[in-house]
Amino acid sequence: MTGAAASDKELIEAFRREESRIQAFEAIIKKYQQKVYWHVRRLVIDHDDADDVTQNTFIRAWEKLDGFREESKLFTWLFRVATNEALTFINKKKASLHVNMEDAEHYLSHQITNGIGFNGNQIQKKLQLAILELPEKQRAVFNMRYFDELPYEQIAEITDTSVGALKASYHHAVKKIETYFNHTLNL
């Protein structure tokens, strides 16, 4: 039972059986690859980086899925792994490039401004640039709430943070984005 219609529980059970492990894992990838990829892409911006992080996320899932305790949804668990992988990737990249945070954000905003892997209109461009101004974890929270429209309770599970802190963080992020738009109104 590893087709597209299989439930998470069925997929996990199939994954735990040696004979259906690969087939079940392929079905899990197909089911969640787009959600995971886009969540990662919005954080790392560059497609090749997002591809690396997405693949790492699923490889980590392959290694850890046997220990998945099913206390949370598979999707929530995968998002948690993906968020951690993406944030680790960003930090490693900054360290390897020997650049400070402003330079790294400048590099990413350069990609958006120059339309590398980006074909949005001016408002979309400005929104992405405003999001890039946020600290990484706040960016992740904003994206999950705004673009993925996840409930705070689910984001709390993914980030292991209280709902109150998430609401406050989102609230501050919205204010910062509004300020960014106001300051760059005529640019």
């Binding site: 997405t54 693949q55 980006f118 979309q124 929104l127 992405q128 919205v174 509004e178």
Partner: protein
């Protein structure tokens, strides 16, 4: 948008911004991604046990057949109420020290208590003065005890599920006045 956590009017500014995806992708990316990941995980599969056993060493008969169940039994033992509590290493040492001291205290009180038929003494019966005197005489840092106690209480009282959202004025006041640095640190 989820109905559980509707976006508040204060967040209306971003509601007017586009949510559609402005990023581009190589053609057929999602068709090729599962195979790309599967190729990697197949290559990382754990080798057969027969390949890993070094012939120079002997293992008890059926050791590897029994090992998984032993590991599972041990991993179950560290779970508490379906939730794994991870204390920092130093606190584990401190917790062990406090447990030993508690036993010592009980023994001390047993010795000093008047000899009678009912000599059973529990830590609950000791007065605060007796406990502090004992700890002081044994060079135990009160801070260390307090740290362990506080952490234990915090974990015990931490709600597993957060309370449902309510968009009250008080909540809004807290959101507006929360120290953002503290929020970011909590994330």
């Amino acid at each position: 948008m989820d109905t559980q956590n509707p976006i508040s009017p204060e967040e209306a500014f971003v509601n007017g911004l586009p949510k559609n995806n402005p990023f581009t992708l190589p053609p057929s990316y999602f068709e090729e991604l599962p195979q790309s990941i599967l190729m990697q995980v197949k290559g990382s599969e754990t080798p057969q046990l027969s390949q890993t056993i070094d012939s120079a060493f002997e293992v008890p008969q059926a050791y590897f057949e029994q090992l998984p169940s032993k590991v599972i039994a041990k991993s179950h033992a560290i779970k508490t109420g379906g939730r794994i509590i991870r204390f920092p290493f130093i606190n584990r040492i401190a917790a062990a020290a406090v447990a030993l001291l508690a036993v010592g205290l009980v023994l001390l009180l047993s010795k000093t208590a008047p000899r009678s038929i009912e000599t059973a003494v529990s830590i609950e019966q000791a007065t605060d003065d007796e406990i502090f005197t004992y700890l002081e005489n044994n060079n135990v840092s009160i801070d260390l005890v307090a740290e362990v106690y506080t952490e234990t209480e915090t974990v015990k009282n931490k709600p597993v599920n957060s309370a449902p959202d309510s968009n009250t004025l008080i909540e809004q006041y807290i959101l507006d006045n929360a120290d953002e640095q503290l929020i970011l640190e909590e994330l």
